[in-house]
Symmetry: C2
């Protein structure tokens, strides 16, 4: 059984457990995960039997890419009748037991209009949210997925070393970011890191120095950044980088669809003692978390442990953002998207499992002065973890 067939089989197992008759997958990334193609259309996965990818555009290209059977979507108006015909047993089984067909869709990303269109062509169906099922399946990575993430880790390491080597007083954040982006783009970076969250955007991460890095923003991460304008209010701005201030380089790239996410802190000259101490605390936290990274450990506990360590270092107020703008997590899953499961945060009771890939990012924010911290990405293994990030650690003194 090929990898895509296995993924679909696992989805079908979950659908059966939850007594859902089928799942209608529409989001580009989810379609890619289950088919190997990112053409537009509707991937219908019945609770049992063959999945079919009804493609709007491009049918020819989907036929060459997809691991599941491709059918031209044709007229959307007749899509409901078409499904009822192809999946007759499924539809008849529901009808014969006088119940509505129960179908799942990705309610976390599916726009309301799109659901209404589906409801119109399948008027007898009851729609339920299938997004957690899909996100939980995607949480565990295969060997092929890990290979892509390792390649992204290799590329971002080269880009990082290239970038810091040319960093001088007066280099602007945007110049530094542009150089990183050029490097990774030439290596095959997609140009963005895909995010699932509504209204969230990340181009290549966040490069920020001194007070600019500590400016809060809408972005759901511990460091905000000045950005270019109110129309792009995060990450790198046009401020020249100064000596003796922390330079936060929180970057990633997307290679073959898979992202990596890492952070290093650099300085031209020296940092004040209290910021060095905060940086050292971030490394102590990540080392202590590493000691707990093994199957069975509960995600929430890792977050609580980091809060405790920040508290003991008397840095609670600065941990993962400052004051009202603190974010309430220590790390997040990565894969095809930058905001995958699991999240290391309160309320996430997932036990760690082999194949989970998690970016862990203890950081400390000092308003008016900057952000320091570290972030590595890890895969959980049978016995513990493997660090995927290959970039050298420690405060990078330039």
């Amino acid at each position: 059984m090929n990898e895509f067939a296995k993924r679909i089989q696992r989805l079908q197992d979950r659908l059966q457990e939850k007594r859902i008759d089928g799942c209608m997958i529409t989001q580009n990334v989810d379609i890619y995960y289950f088919t190997g193609s990112m053409q537009t259309g509707y991937l219908f996965v019945p609770s049992a039997g063959e999945a079919l990818f009804f493609v709007r555009r491009s049918v020819v290209r989907a036929q060459g890419e997809a691991a599941v059977r491709v059918e031209p979507l044709g007229s959307f108006r007749s899509f409901g009748d078409r499904l009822a015909e192809v999946y007759r047993a499924l539809f008849e089984d529901a009808a014969s037991s006088s119940r509505r067909l129960r179908l799942a869709a990705e309610f976390d990303v599916l726009p309301v209009q799109q659901l209404q269109r589906l409801e119109a062509v399948l008027p007898g169906a009851e729609w339920v949210d299938g997004s957690m099922i899909i996100r939980e399946l995607r949480m565990i990575k295969s060997a092929a997925e890990l290979a892509c993430i390792r390649e992204a880790a290799r590329v971002i390491d080269l880009a990082f070393e290239d970038a810091v080597q040319t960093l001088r007083p007066g280099t602007t954040e945007l110049e530094l970011m542009s150089r990183i982006e050029l490097f990774i783009r030439r290596q095959g970076h997609l140009g963005i890191m895909r995010m699932r969250g509504y209204n969230q955007e990340v181009i290549t991460g966040m490069v920020g120095a001194g007070e600019a890095a500590a400016i809060p923003t809408y972005f759901d991460g511990p460091a905000g950044g000045q950005g270019l304008s109110a129309a792009s209010p995060q990450s790198a701005g046009r401020r020249p980088i100064q000596p003796n201030e922390p330079i936060l380089i929180d970057i990633g790239c997307c290679i073959e669809g898979y992202v990596i996410d890492q952070t290093r802190t650099a300085v031209i000259g020296n940092l004040p003692d209290d910021l060095v101490r905060a940086y050292d605390t971030s490394e102590q936290i990540i080392r202590s978390i590493e000691g707990r990274l093994q199957p069975g450990v509960v995600c929430e506990q890792l977050y609580m442990h980091s809060l405790q360590m920040a508290h003991e270092a008397e840095l609670s107020e600065h941990f993962m953002g400052y004051g009202d703008d603190q974010v309430k997590f220590l790390g997040h899953g990565i894969g095809l998207e930058i905001d995958e499961l699991p999240v290391l945060a309160k309320g996430f009771s997932y036990p760690l499992q082999p194949g989970m890939v998690i970016a862990i990012e203890p950081k400390f924010t000092f308003p008016g002065r900057g952000v320091v911290g570290i972030e590595n990405s890890y895969v959980i293994t049978e016995n513990g973890f493997e660090k995927l990030t290959v970039t050298r650690e420690g405060l990078i003194r330039l």
Copy 2:
């Protein structure tokens, strides 16, 4: 009255016309359009009275950016009670006439989960689709918006001239694209061009040459492109550009939130006669369309006119893509997003109005050989049009 107050006033006029009590705006771009800030939260615009921006994150930053009053969102659970308290007259008016409060949201982009959350905190309300109201308001640009688009046009022209000057046989599409991206990024390009369409992504447009440019893809545009992999199946790939094949350079940038979109066709050496003729036809079409660009002309008629011209040139099969992969439009509105109204396509009966900004892109696709064409962006004026694109026209021979 400032620009943002005028925008909100126009929205309120439309809400009153449609007997909608208020509009809950949640999408980052729409929030920016009405407030000048892109922080996350809920912008509530009642059909009459003061709009309020309930901000989740960052409140401090929103207070500094937004032209409307900002309130911390606080607990989402009590958001419904909060609204009922602040907009007591509105809620009581609905209650006293025994009708449900009628609220609009952006159903074209709002994920189902987000609507369900709103329904849960405002259980008495009836939700309707307000996306066309907002998209139609945004269709007409102000002087300030036009200034941003003109700046983007200036930047992309410089990037284009810089890029073609270094183009040599063997330069890959990705190298050419990376160079353009570096140039525009350093000038303040956001890094992507925002798109409203579900599953649609555009980083910096489409650079493709020869057969690679003619490969169809999911992207809703006339040229597809090979892309980097099945996980990024459009635009530039790694193929070296050859002499005597068409090089399609369909690019844009996003400056202060506003995009420009333009296409030029280049060649190292010479093109075969039939492709030169097709290119010339694209220029003839755009000249003929320019002759019709004035207030009152119906969008759909411009598209039908271009179909007619392609037919007369015996190039119908190649127009705007090839065969089954043809797209059914000639142009599209641009502004904060690359896929705005109006669309020059069948079924779009909007008459042109001063302030509309439209990218018009007649192109011809030859499978196995390439894509040729031209694209300019225009603003409709009182008497006709102004061309916003400043890049030199004609087939660019290198």
